[in-house]
């Protein structure tokens, strides 16, 4: 595919485990299906999330074309989950690095944060009900929010790039968050509308440990 597009070099930017790169957008550039100005447009980069925070994009690969132009493959948040696309290098600000990832295990009902391949935090979680499941796939931490002991979200919340697959009409588009709860007795369990719930002490700890741009794998 890339060879047909006259790409001379492809470099992997993120392994989504121990070394990953992300960037803020510098323009509301179109995201294309392949590294070409003629490729189909899948969407556009956004500056702000639905909660008014800086939107960021996980950089997966870079490709340099024969014309000398460099493209970056990014994860494209939105439905359907798991979309990727390409933007010119200039459409993104500088690349930031993170060296960990967050594993959300829906089967074991547990979230574990790894740094440099070593587990540094683990806690039980609540995930989506069968009717409103927490989606499986690779995502990342989009934003860190302070929710001030909100009854629904606890003291802190993390916005992710994942979207609930069934809640199309949800305010804000149905973003899957990781947050606290005032119902800790439901954890571990499957009580949510798709979000990942944690006990307030656990989300407080995770919030201090995790950085924006940290990859999330939901299994």
């Amino acid at each position: 595919m890339l060879a047909a597009l006259a790409v001379t070099a492809v470099t992997r930017l993120s392994n989504l485990r121990t070394h990953s790169r992300w960037a803020y957008p510098s323009a509301q550039a179109p995201v294309r299906a392949s590294p070409s100005q003629r490729a189909r447009v899948l969407g556009h980069l956004r500056f702000l999330t639905g909660d008014g925070q800086a939107e960021l994009y996980m950089a997966l690969e870079s490709a340099r074309t024969t014309s000398g132009r460099t493209w970056i493959q990014i994860e494209l948040p939105g439905r359907p989950n798991g979309q990727t696309g390409w933007v010119p290098r200039g459409a993104l600000e500088s690349l930031h690095t993170v060296d960990g990832y967050l594993l959300v295990d829906r089967g074991a009902l547990r979230a574990t944060l790894f740094r440099d391949g070593r587990a540094i935090f683990s806690a039980p979680i609540g995930v989506g009900k069968p009717s409103t499941i927490t989606p499986r796939g690779n995502f990342y931490v989009m934003e860190k929010l302070i929710t001030l002991d909100d009854p629904l979200y606890g003291p802190y919340a993390l916005g992710t790039s994942a979207y609930a697959p069934t809640l199309n009409e949800w305010p804000g588009g149905g973003v899957v968050g990781i947050h606290g709860t005032d119902e800790p007795r439901l954890i571990p369990g499957r009580p949510s509308h798709g979000c990942v719930r944690m006990r307030n002490a656990d989300i407080t700890r995770l919030w201090t440990l995790v950085e924006v741009g940290t990859p999330i794998e939901i299994t």
Binding site: Y24, A27, L48, T208
Partner: protein, 628 residues
């Protein structure tokens, strides 16, 4: 049916209920009577017509006549007797038929009355049930019966007596008494039983706070096999106190005792696996293969000696296997229990230096890069507190970075445990670097823990290297990982030896560049980049450009002119403006710097633009719109 006249004999045709025997009798007897009457008449006639001279014969005839008359009378009597008998039988049959008809009518009437009464009673019961059901609903589940009481008096202490009967069996009946305050309450009675179909009768009666009534609601459930159980892990330290799920404080050397309680909460017996607990010593309890009956409970115990500081988290895993055909094995892990052991302070941090060629695409890297005379190397120094105490970082100075280019670092130079901070700086590759062939850079930083938490520590970074192309080389830095032309167009500025004198001062010779690549090449190679914040801005921030070679710069925000700075405004090699985002609307804003470069050999200055995007965000203190 009309009534018959019991006083009149019934004709043969009139009684469909008359028996066949009666019909035979009624047909034969009138014929015999008619024969006797005829014989009698013939004898009388013979006596009347006999001649008078026949005297002797008259006495004989008279005797014969008497016999005939006697016979005639006898026959007549018999005939009358027969007729009377026939009439009596006919009347009897008629009466019997009438009686049977009357009985049937009476039975039908009683049946109709009973049906009407039953219907009325059913209607009354339905009405009563409706009224009683206004006070309650019952939902039947395989594991519970859920009762909802409503429309009760607005008073405390409403009391109902409940009774559950399964499959109409008295031996499977259970009684409960439930009290609640207010008009409405919901309560659940857990039930269990083996898989199968159940008829359940839920009956409730109340005479409380002036309200009296009852309901009887029946339902049925078909319950599949549900293999289920719970695992709860409890702990205590040193044999003291009761077992608990709470987090406990511990000390190194103490023994944590664990009790793992397994309860069969399903409706089928479970065969338990061997108990596994990777964080526990030898466990005691049921052997693998033991069967835990429905509702049954068993316990395992194990212990662990605390050997290091930190959070000691422990959880147990057990597998329960139901009988064949009743579902798949179930594996459960208990909720973890935690013992917090004080951790001795361990100050530590890491420092990593990364680099990239300014203006080139690609990320910061620790790899060796290729650069050219006149290019700027941007450095990023990532400092991460990898210990468990906060550190006060020493003053960051990097002699391999150009003066005045160091930015970043934590507020108050205090780096919290687990946190990281970035510094940036840069260096302009000069002729000395070109002569050396490369430029390497490393930095050392000190971190001081709080008093009593250890001694200050010094940490050195890795070394990053830029190989500098020798004079006359046309290498445009393509050796970098991700390179693309700079916005000005051609980035292949030729840094010939003739430019070296100016390059050492940070300004390239325009004459040389114009002669080879024109003004655009000059601008692309020498116009400095604009440095501003990335991501959300919520507090005042600075936007700056390196002042070397810059005659003046005018800043525009969303097309509106903000300020113009000239070379004489430079501080520490930078031309900087401060911006307050409080006046900005939420969203993205474009900040453009229109830069006029000094020009040594021309009266016309070179002008170029650089831009950054300023992102004004909402507060991070927000109620998100997540799905929850």
């Amino acid at each position: 049916m009309p009534k018959r006249d019991r006083g009149k004999p019934q004709s043969r045709e009139s009684g469909p209920r008359r028996s066949r025997a009666m019909r035979r009798t009624a047909g034969r007897r009138p014929a015999r009577t008619r024969g006797a009457v005829l014989l009698l008449l013939m004898l009388a006639l013979a006596a009347f017509v006999a001649p008078p001279g026949q005297a002797s014969a008259a006495g004989e005839r008279s005797s014969a006549e008497q016999e005939a008359l006697s016979a005639a009378r006898t026959a007549e009597r018999e005939a009358r007797t027969d007729a009377a008998q026939a009439q009596r039988e006919s009347e009897k049959a008629a009466r019997k038929a009438q009686r049977e008809a009357d009985l049937a009518a009476a039975r039908a009437k009683r049946a109709a009355e009973r049906a009407a009464k039953k219907a009325k009673l059913a209607a009354e019961r339905a009405d009563k049930r409706h009224n009683d059901n206004l006070h309650g609903e019952v939902r039947f589940h395989c594991t519970s019966v859920e009762w909802t009481f409503m429309n009760f008096p607005e008073a405390d202490g409403n009391t109902v007596v409940q009774e559950l009967t399964f499959n109409h069996e008295v031996t499977k009946r259970a009684k409960y008494t439930f009290s609640f305050d207010g008009p409405t309450s919901v309560m659940t009675i857990p039930i269990d039983g083996p898989p199968g179909h159940y008829m359940i009768d839920a009956w409730a009666r109340w005479d409380t706070n002036g309200l009296r009534g009852n309901f009887d609601i029946r339902g049925s459930v078909t319950c599949a096999a549900v293999p289920a159980f719970s695992v709860e892990k409890l702990q205590r330290i040193g044999g003291a106190g009761a077992y608990t799920t709470s987090t406990l404080p511990g000390q190194i050397g103490q023994t944590v005792e664990y009790e793992i309680v397994v309860r069969n909460t399903g409706n089928v017996p479970l065969t338990l696996s061997d108990f596994t607990d990777t964080h526990c010593g030898t466990a005691s309890g049921p052997a693998g293969g033991d069967v835990l009956p429905v509702g049954g409970e068993t316990k395992y115990t194990c212990a662990h000696v605390l050997s290091e500081g930190g959070s000691y988290v422990n959880e147990a895993t057990v597998t329960g296997t139901p009988p064949e055909g009743d579902g798949a094995p179930v594996t459960l892990t208990s909720k973890p229990v935690v013992v917090e052991v004080p951790v001795p302070p361990a100050p530590a941090f890491s420092i990593e230096k990364l680099q990239k060629i300014a203006g080139a695409t690609g990320s910061y890297t620790t790899s060796t890069l290729s650069g050219q005379l006149g290019q700027t190397v941007d450095y990023e120094i990532v400092v991460r507190n990898t210990g468990n105490v906060a550190l006060t970082l020493g003053s960051f100075s990097d002699e391999r970075c150009d003066a005045g280019t160091v930015l970043g670092g934590p507020v108050g130079r205090i780096l919290a445990a687990g946190a990281s901070t970035n510094y940036t700086c840069s260096h302009l590759l000069d002729v000395a670097d070109q002569a050396a062939g490369s430029y390497s850079n490393a930095v050392t930083l000190t971190g001081t823990p709080p008093e009593g938490d250890g001694a200050p520590i010094a940490q050195g970074s890795n070394t990053v290297v830029v190989e500098v192309a020798p004079a006359g080389s046309d290498d445009n830095g393509g050796g970098e990982e991700h390179h693309e032309p700079t916005p000005g167009g051609n980035s292949t500025t030729s840094n010939s030896s003739s430019s070296s004198s100016n390059a050492s001062s940070g300004v390239l010779s325009s004459t040389v560049n114009q002669s080879q690549s024109g003004v655009l090449a000059f601008a692309s190679a020498s116009v400095p980049a604009l440095t501003g914040p990335e991501g959300c801005v919520r507090k005042s921030f600075h936007v700056s450009i390196r002042s070397a070679g810059v005659q003046s710069v005018t800043f525009y925000l969303d097309g509106h002119k903000l300020k113009t700075l000239t070379a004489k405004n430079a501080r520490e090699g930078l031309l900087t403006i401060e911006m307050n985002p409080a006046k900005l609307k939420v969203g993205a804003h474009k900040l453009v710097a229109r830069i006029t470069m000094m020009h040594s050999a021309s009266t016309k200055a070179t002008v170029a633009s650089r831009k950054v995007t300023i992102l004004r965000c909402h507060s991070a203190v927000v109620t998100p719109k997540f799905t929850g």
